[in-house]
């Protein structure tokens, strides 16, 4: 423990040099902007900035890019809460409760919750990374394809808790997500399926245009519908107003106490999911939301505009962003897309990512870890200072904001892959999203199914390839078996509880 503190202190000495502080600030600012813009996520942001860093000193460069990555998680929640348009896919769940809070006139509160939860969740992730990074990376290695498949099946089982008042509608929405996820590469053959001969569909429907359409573009239509014929056009601020100032946004003591346990749980779960191979911040945000909805004291309110619904996914995605650095630094293995790009960066800066990195370049590794503590504080300061400015967007008249959002949606979906086809995907998803929302079908289960299904298919496929087609692999692994038992418990417990209640009632009547 003392060793770690000494190394961390050394890391702070590196991170707090003026030039590295500047890199962290620049990275954090860019991350906030990139995160808030729909379409450009952390992956594209880091990939585009990377070539410019090749001539920098490696520690400064990684500090900047890492700051961009985790600041992105803060920025994504801005547009999700204010406009119901997640700036980046990990913010999808934030939009559910965040935007409801905005419509209830509590935008400032929602933003402040998101920032505080992000900071605390991120810090939990960094502390875990500091204390037991290599150990955590080893735990991640125990999750092979069979174990990952079991985890995802568990996640699927728990979608039920997201379905809302009408399970049939939620179930249909989930199935729609599964169907959309089936378009693309058939893993067993390597060829494309349901692509109807269109090269653009051969690797499947892209997630970003789908999200932008489902949330952003459908939102434009909803805005136009809601505000049509109202005479006055004062923008979203025409909703029940609150003081859009920092003071009005601060959380009260009781509110703060409400989100603390949420942040604690989500921080731990999120960090762990970040470490798993092939999982990431998006999945983490989803699962943390579900965990809170199921186990939280205020779970029933979630989905209707509860600050817990903002705190859980935001703490979860920031913790996951920190968690992905554990396998990257201690093993040289990227946990997701963004860290894969960072790995390429390490090599271009002349470093060799791998088990020796910590011993060969301690100033690099510990400088980065220490900078993450510092960077989080910078993010909080900048993000809170931005609250009064960004909330002004709510005062912009709908006749201006609606076309502006439309432009952002189109540019955002095009810019991911420079593809016109993705604009069509976005428009189609917008139409579908509009009708789903109008008829009270929840869109979150659709997107969750769309994110999880490919990981499930890939893991299950790999597991069967390893076992030669036998299902033994799923119960011979203790971890996979454990998750499968949890799944059984999830499915059986409502029935069992009902049975117990009936027996008790019968007993009371008879006795």
């Amino acid at each position: 423990m003392y060793d770690i503190l000494a190394l961390l202190a050394h890391g702070f000495a590196v991170a707090l040099t003026p030039v590295n502080l500047m890199y962290a600030t620049v990275g954090a600012l860019m991350g906030l902007i990139v995160g808030a813009m729909p379409g450009i996520g952390s992956l594209a942001g880091v990939a585009l900035l990377l070539p410019l860093t090749f001539r920098l000193e490696p520690t400064g460069a990684i500090i900047m890019l890492a700051a961009l990555y985790y600041a992105n998680m803060y920025g994504g929640s801005f547009s999700a809460i204010l406009l119901n348009i997640p700036g980046d896919s990990p913010a999808v769940m934030t939009a559910v409760d965040g935007y409801k809070l905005t419509r209830a006139g509590k935008a400032g509160k929602a933003l402040f919750t998101a920032i505080v939860a992000s900071a605390l969740g991120g810090t939990i992730g960094i502390v875990i990374l500091t204390v037991m990074g290599p150990l955590l990376a080893d735990v991640g290695l125990r999750f092979g394809p069979a174990e990952m498949a079991a985890v995802i099946i568990m996640a699927f089982t728990s979608i039920g808790w997201l379905l809302g008042e009408n399970p049939a509608k939620g179930g249909l929405s989930t199935c729609l997500g599964l169907m959309l996820a089936c378009v693309g590469v058939d893993l067993a053959r390597g060829t494309s399926r349901f692509s109807f001969g269109m090269p653009d569909l051969m690797s499947g429907i892209s997630f970003v245009p789908l999200v932008i359409g489902m949330f952003g573009f459908s939102q434009v239509m909803i805005l136009l519908k809601d505000f049509r014929g109202k005479g006055t056009d004062q923008g979203l601020a025409a909703l029940p107003a609150e003081k859009l100032s920092i003071r009005g946004s601060l959380l009260t003591g009781p509110e703060f106490r409400r989100i603390l346990p949420v942040v604690g749980k989500s921080g731990l779960l999120g960090t762990f999911i970040g470490v798993l191979p092939g999982a990431g911040a998006t999945m983490s945000a989803f699962l943390c939301y579900i965990l809170e909805k199921r186990t939280g004291r205020n779970g029933a309110q979630m989905g209707e505009g509860a600050i817990e619904g903002v705190a859980a996914p935001e703490a979860g995605n920031n913790a996951a962003a920190a968690g992905t650095f554990a396998p990257l630094l201690s093993l040289g293995i990227p946990g997701g897309g963004t860290t894969a790009v960072l790995l390429g960066g390490l090599m271009m800066w002349g470093l060799t990512p791998g088990p020796l990195l910590f011993s060969e370049k301690p100033e690099f590794c510990w400088g980065l870890i220490a900078s993450m503590y510092v960077g989080n504080i910078i993010c909080v300061a900048v993000a809170i200072a931005l609250i009064p400015f960004v909330t002004n967007i709510l005062r912009v008249p709908v006749r201006i904001i609606a076309p502006a959002i439309t432009v952002v949606c189109v540019v955002g979906s095009y810019s991911v892959d420079n593809s016109y086809f993705d604009i069509l995907v976005m428009l189609a998803a917008g139409l579908v999203g509009f009708f789903l929302t109008q008829f009270d079908y929840p869109t979150a289960p659709l997107l969750l199914a769309f994110v999880l299904a490919p990981i499930l298919e890939r893991s299950a496929n790999s597991a069967f390839e390893i076992s030669g087609g036998s299902v033994d692999i799923f119960y011979q692994s203790p971890i996979a078996l454990g998750f499968l038992l949890v799944i059984v418990a999830i499915c059986v417990s409502p029935l069992a509880m009902r049975a117990v209640r009936r027996v008790r009632r019968a007993g009371r009547v008879n006795g």
């Binding site: 394809p145 569909l201 990227p334």
Partner: protein, 319 residues
Amino acid sequence: MKLSVLRLAAVGLATACLAAPAMAFEPKQDVDMIVPSSAGGGTDLNARTIADIIKRDNLSPVNFQVINKPGGSGAVAFAYAATKSGDDHMLVPIAIGQIISSYALKWDVKGKDMTPIATVANDEFFLAAVKGRFKDAKEAIEAAKGGKITFGSSQKGNSDHLAYLLLNKYAKTNFRYVQFGGSGEVMSALLGGHVDVGLFNPSECIGQVRAGTVVPLASFSAKRMPGELWNQAPTLTELGYPQVIAAETRVVLGPPNMDKDAVAYYEGLLRKVTDTERWKTDYIARNNLTPMFLDSKETAENLAEVIDKRVPIFKEAGF
């Protein structure tokens, strides 16, 4: 890859002399480099390095701009290139694996439809395992005849898959192909003991190899890779399987029907790029690639050899 270094050098010298006379073609507008994958990948890095060197060393009067067109693991970029037939201001930097996929996965536009311009680098393949799992490649190959040894790799119908099929056919092994989402996941599965061997480019496993946790068992190239980390691993040719040759060669193509003079211009330009010190140190060495340059004719021959002689193995394997 079959060409010896000496022959390569000789060919290089000869074409360098031939290329000396003034070119008939000069680009009149910015050249688009269509990268068939997302920003941040290996091909993207290759393209951006080329564009950057051309700009900084003033090798061309126009800009080379990188445009990412991912999708269909390359099919989207090929389909796009086919609509620009005869366009002399467009390059498609690509990994040979995607050219193989155009046949194995039966895309509409195939590798031979495009115009070969040059081969600029070679990314070798190694069969690797966790230290202590197998004594050497021979032991792994013997063990794999029992049909229980798993072989971790990514995707199907690409050069990884081709390397696997060649190994199974000619070494008469029965490795089980297990595909993952990327080389990072393969490494996770290898270290976690979920698969027995994996296929890696040097840059994908160098960290583990240096730490001694993973050992490169055999190389899929014709010659051993230099460097003390890699030269201990015998080639599969040395082990008695000269037909088992595969690598992720980095090729630059043009759209179909590119003008001959334009091909000559870009070929000369790429030769200049690959001769720069920056290319050798910042790109080749840092990414653990092997230097390699083939002109348009040699690239065409090499592609024809891979497509005609090796790709049919996918059909044999019932793929």
